[in-house]
């Protein structure tokens, strides 16, 4: 059916064009022979093709354009005809003899154009006559094209100021009046299309209408180009008249398009000065009109205008542009009861952008906008509408982008209230945006209040909101997100220890609400941030004697202790252990023995109670040993307890090789290479011997279990330890013991049962090479090594 329709239309168009060309041919012949009567006859017949009702606007336009070209030539002919002495007045009458109205009016407009040019009558009279006569066409499409033709032929002949057709005092008024009238009539016809024809063709009709809209809009363009319209006239006459038409036509499509047209065609400064009038029309528009886009465009234009030149800014203040826009938006939202949330948010978002451009210094305006937005949204609960949430994100991002500084957003009291309106997912997205902004700009948030506000904003990231379950979240995303939070925590820093302590407390308060999934990500940065504070305090203490300071390292350590304790709910004992050790080390640096001891105790408890995985135990014990080795704050007793424990743990590891390695590592606990460090050679040797025993046992176990003697790796490693302490001057380590160890290894390596291990071979070879090297060095070292035979 539709296919047929299209084909038929093509056929009709073709027929129309043929008819038009045929008559145009005869018309040209008549023009060539200066036969006015025939020229009129054939031109009227030619124009009769435009009387068709069968074509869609698109096709009709094609036909119209052909007729238009022909009429240009006819107009030339008329012009020459008047030069030949034919009275233009007579000509003007003559064309009106045509019986059919449409050709008659096309001819009349054509002659009218010549008439104005001849200046035999004032342009305004001719124009007035033409625009009146055109009322005869009430068919929307034909009327629109006819009037568009009139507009086309008259646009360079308006009695504008400075134009050659300028008339008496009110000449501009005449020009304006003409264009306005044509505009009004065209709009009426255009609107009328909507109400004609069957209801089921609504969609097609709306499409056709949108094809025709520029014909109507062109009038506004013409209007905007009338030189004589000054601001007063625009404000008092032109704009009210145009708006009157726009409001009264009560048509969604027209109102939207025309409002947009007005905003686009007239100059910015006019808009600024007539803001009240323009905005006053908005609440009167139909509920279906997309006002938000219209207003957004307006604000966008004004923003650009404000940016374009600093000189215009005072005007904005003078007319109180912000207040007017804000009020108007409020009214529009009130008037359009069924406006969607996203519509309202878009409006506010545009207003916000405008404000940021025009009044970058007025944070109160921004806050006001956000406040209004909250008012609008709060009634609806959490937003489910994805478009609206997207808009809110845009709204909230705008100040961040503009100020490049989260500080500003933190000053906005309504900011977080707006965020509350978002659903959890979007809230998180927004929080992420904020975090990213901070990262990007490397903003340092340095007061407790701001930190508090910030955490309020990003609470979507910090804790679980509402009843949403985590499982729907992608694991990677979650990690990503928490990693940014971790990075953010690092940014919260100030040089003022008092303030910093407050910040730490606030961070702690918020972070601890994060639940088991987040804590492993967020606690470590918090701990390190706190430790940074401790080191800072320590640095200060050296300079200034702290009097009654609330921020003391002790206090921080207390907090830390509790903080790390929180990890127990997760549980991540390995991590907690690391953190305890880290704290212990810092406490060590602060010379706080009891604190350090306490941390170690905690670490040990964790080791004993929580870390059961053997591999984790190995890692943990090495960490403990490493940390403990560096501790210098402990007194003998404490130290003994701790080292004893550590050695004990080492010996109780599950796998023999692990045991062995842990034990020989323990040897370092008794030997500090510092000047005044502990150097207990006996116990070192004890450890090493014990390690050797374990290595032996390991070998035997391997033999028994698998029938081969396993690797000699452990022995080589122990040999290296021997060499280390030997070199450091531990008198308990003798050449003999080294010598026997080397022999042992050599024997083992030659044994049949040994599994061949190239790594061990290489290790051993390089160890021996090292001994040889030391020997060759000569001097004290060489002498020391001399007795060892390789």
């Amino acid at each position: 059916m539709i296919q047929d329709g299209v084909e038929d239309e093509e056929k009709w168009l073709a027929a129309g064009i043929t008819g038009l060309q045929q008559n145009a041919f005869y018309m040209h012949r008549a023009l060539d022979s200066n036969n006015l009567k025939d020229a009129l006859k054939y031109s009227a017949q030619m124009l009769s093709e435009l009387r068709t009702s069968r074509l869609s606007p698109h096709k009709y336009y094609e036909l119209y354009m052909r007729a238009f070209d022909e009429l240009r030539q006819l107009e030339m002919f008329f012009k020459e005809e008047t030069k030949r002495g034919c009275s233009i007045v007579e000509l003007y009458e003559l064309v009106q003899h045509a019986g059919n109205i449409l050709p008659r009016l096309y001819l009349l407009c054509t002659v009218g154009s010549v008439y104005i040019k001849s200046k035999e009558a004032p342009a305004k009279d001719v124009l007035k006559d033409l625009v009146e006569m055109c009322r005869g066409i009430q068919h929307p499409v034909r009327g629109l094209f006819l009037r568009s033709y009139l507009s086309q032929v008259s646009r360079d002949k308006l009695p504008d100021i400075g134009s050659e057709y300028e008339g008496d005092a009110d000449t501009v008024m005449d020009a304006v009046e003409f264009v306005l009238q044509n505009f009004t009539e065209m709009n009426k016809l255009w609107v009328r299309m909507q109400h004609q024809g069957a209801a089921r063709e609504k969609e097609r009709r709306e499409k056709e209408r949108s094809e025709l809209r520029d014909l109507v809009g062109k009038n506004l363009h013409v209007l905007s180009q009338i030189e004589g319209i000054d601001l007063d006239m625009y404000r008092d006459l032109v704009l009210p008249r145009v708006l009157e038409q726009v409001v009264n036509c009560k048509d969604d499509i027209a109102q939207y398009y025309l409002m947009d047209c007005i905003i686009q065609v007239f100059p910015d400064e006019y808009h600024l000065q007539t803001l009240e009038i323009l905005l006053g029309a908005c609440p009167q528009l139909q509920p279906g009109v997309d006002i938000k886009t219209v207003l957004s465009r307006l604000m966008e234009r004004l923003s650009n205008y404000a940016v374009s030149s600093a000189e215009v800014l005072p005007e904005f203040f003078q007319v109180e542009a912000f207040t007017k826009l804000n009020n108007s938006i409020g009214k529009v939202i009130e008037a359009q009861v069924d406006m969607t949330a996203d519509g309202a948010v878009t409006l506010y978002s545009s207003l916000l952008k405008f404000t940021l451009h025009v009044h970058p210094d007025r944070l109160d305006f921004v806050d006001q906008i956000l406040g209004a937005c909250v008012m609008k949204l709060s009634s609806k609960g959490k937003l489910k509408d994805s478009k609206a949430t997207k808009e809110i994100v845009a709204l909230l991002s705008a100040p961040l982008d503009k100020y490049n500084d989260i500080d500003t957003a933190l000053k906005l009291s309504n900011y977080s209230r707006v965020m509350d309106c978002l659903d959890d997912g979007t809230n998180k997205v927004m929080a992420n945006v904020i975090v990213q902004s901070i990262m990007k700009n490397k903003t340092c948030i340095s007061t407790a209040d701001k930190v508090e506000a910030l955490f309020e904003l990003i609470k979507g990231l910090i804790q679980d909101l509402g009843e949403h379950l985590q499982d729907e979240l992608d694991e990677d995303d979650f990690k990503e997100e928490q990693n940014s939070v971790a990075r953010l925590i690092q940014m919260l820093y100030t040089d003022d220890p008092e303030e910093m302590l407050k910040i730490v407390c606030i961070m702690r308060k918020h972070i601890l609400t994060g639940g088991p999934k987040r804590l492993p990500f967020t606690v470590p940065p918090l701990v390190f941030n706190s430790l940074k504070l401790v080191r800072q305090l320590q640095g200060q203490e050296e300079n200034v004697a702290q009097e009654e300071a609330s921020a003391t390292p002790k206090k921080v350590f207390q907090l830390l202790n509790q903080t790390i304790e929180a990890l127990s709910v997760v549980p991540v004992p390995e991590l907690a252990l690391q953190l305890y050790l880290q704290c212990a080390e810092t406490a060590n640096d602060c010379d706080l023995e009891p604190v350090a001891y306490e941390f170690f105790t905690q670490a040990y408890i964790l080791y004993e109670e929580e870390i059961s995985d053997s591999r984790a135990q190995v890692t943990a014990i090495h960490l403990i040993i490493g940390t403990l080795q560096r501790m210098h704050v402990f007194g003998v007793e404490n130290r003994d307890t701790l080292t004893h424990k550590a050695t004990g743990y080492s010996a109780k590891l599950l796998k023999k090789p692990d045991q062995c390695r842990a034990v020989y590592a323990c040897s370092h606990l008794f030997w500090f290479d510092d000047q005044d460090g502990i150097k207990d050679g006996e116990r070192v040797l004890l450890c090493l011997k014990r390690a050797l025993r374990i290595a032996n046992a390991a070998q035997q176990m391997a033999n028994a279990a698998r029938g081969n003697s396993g690797s000699v790796m452990l022995f080589i490693e122990i040999l290296n330890k021997y060499l280390y302490f030997f070199e450091k001057g531990n008198s308990q380590i003798t050449v003999t013991s080294i010598q026997s160890l080397i022999e042992l290894i050599t024997t083992e390596m030659q044994s049949d049962t040994l599994t061949h291990d190239p790594a061990a071979d290489a290790f051993f070879a390089s160890t021996l090479r090292y001994i040889q090297f030391q020997k060759d060095k000569g001097g004290a070292v060489g002498e020391k090594y001399e007795p060892i035979k390789v």
Partner: protein, 301 residues
């Protein structure tokens, strides 16, 4: 020369010339056979004078019982063709009985002739003025010659010329108000007016203004009425809505109109009407007819 044919030829040539024939305005007149010829134009109360010359055919004499010229105003009904009714008849005797041997000219004059009616060529009736020269020859049959001329009478602009304004409609369907600027128009006049749509519930396709001429002849039971549409002028294209007003501007000059004739000698009347026709999408016609009076205004040039 063929003598037999010659025998039936008129024995003389009669020609009628007007004394101001060269300067007088000539207008076209449609003859019965469809041809148009140019004839002089007169108006009432003018002197009609001229010369009648009679020239016998070479070598013949014309014997007659007297020569006269008549000025006749005649009305001819087509259903009664050939039967003229003379409403004006003036006679001038030109010669006493005698013989004419050679070309002879007779001046004549009808002074301030009363010719109240205009020449008219209608569908069923014709009103004409003619000069008739009769050479009375008794038994031999008279020789008669005619000369047509046209009479047009001019009227001053009427002192009272009200506009025609009227509201018409079909209940709950269509209400319009129309206005024509005058009720009396001269032949080259322009009809200016407006149509207001007060209520439109039908889908109108277009609207025309027609000029119709109603010619009625005869009287009583024998009255014949003939209506012609002389002009069909499209005023509006498409469907208007309530509140629209459509302008009318119709130039009358292109149409062949005559003044309104009322009851000419109890024989016929010619009246003019403006007929406003609205056509809806189903081609139903809604119309309202209004009489207008046509008159002939003296041409200034």
């Amino acid at each position: 020369m063929n003598y037999i044919i010659g025998a039936f030829k008129p024995a003389c040539n009669v020609s009628i010339t007007f004394s101001d024939g060269k300067s007088r305005k000539q207008v076209p007149l449609k003859k019965e056979n469809g041809q148009t010829l140019m004839v002089p134009l007169f108006k009432s109360q003018e002197n009609i004078s001229g010369k009648i010359s009679i020239e016998p055919v070479q070598g013949k004499k014309v014997q007659h019982n007297g020569i006269k010229v008549e000025l006749l105003g005649q009305i001819e009904m087509y259903f009664d063709r050939g039967n003229f009714y003379d409403f004006t008849s003036l006679v001038r005797e030109l010669d006493v009985p005698g013989e004419i041997y050679e070309r002879k000219a007779y001046p004549f004059e009808f002074s301030t002739v009363e010719m109240p009616y205009e020449t008219y060529n209608g569908v069923n009736v014709r009103l004409r003025y003619v000069l008739k020269v009769t050479i009375n020859r008794g038994y031999a049959g008279s020789i008669v010659e005619y000369q047509d001329f046209v009479v047009r009478n001019y009227s001053p602009p009427p002192s009272i010329n009200n506009s025609i304004k009227m509201e018409v409609g079909i209940e709950d369907c269509l209400h319009i108000e129309f206005e024509y600027n005058k009720s009396k128009y001269h032949l080259k006049d322009v009809i200016i007016g407006k149509i207001y749509f007060l209520l439109v519930r039908i889908k109108i396709k277009n609207m025309d203004l027609e000029i119709r001429r109603r010619e009625s002849t005869g009287s009583g039971a024998n009255t014949h009425v003939e209506t012609e549409t002389l002009a069909k002028f499209e005023l509006m294209d498409g469907a208007p809505v309530r509140g629209e007003s459509i302008p009318i501007r119709l130039f009358l000059s292109p149409y062949e109109l005559t003044p309104t004739h009322r009851n000419i000698n109890n024989k016929f009347s010619v009246k003019y009407y403006l007929n406003l026709v609205l056509v809806d999408e189903e081609d139903r016609r809604y119309f309202k007819q209004q009489e207008i009076t046509m008159y002939r205004l003296a041409e200034t040039s």
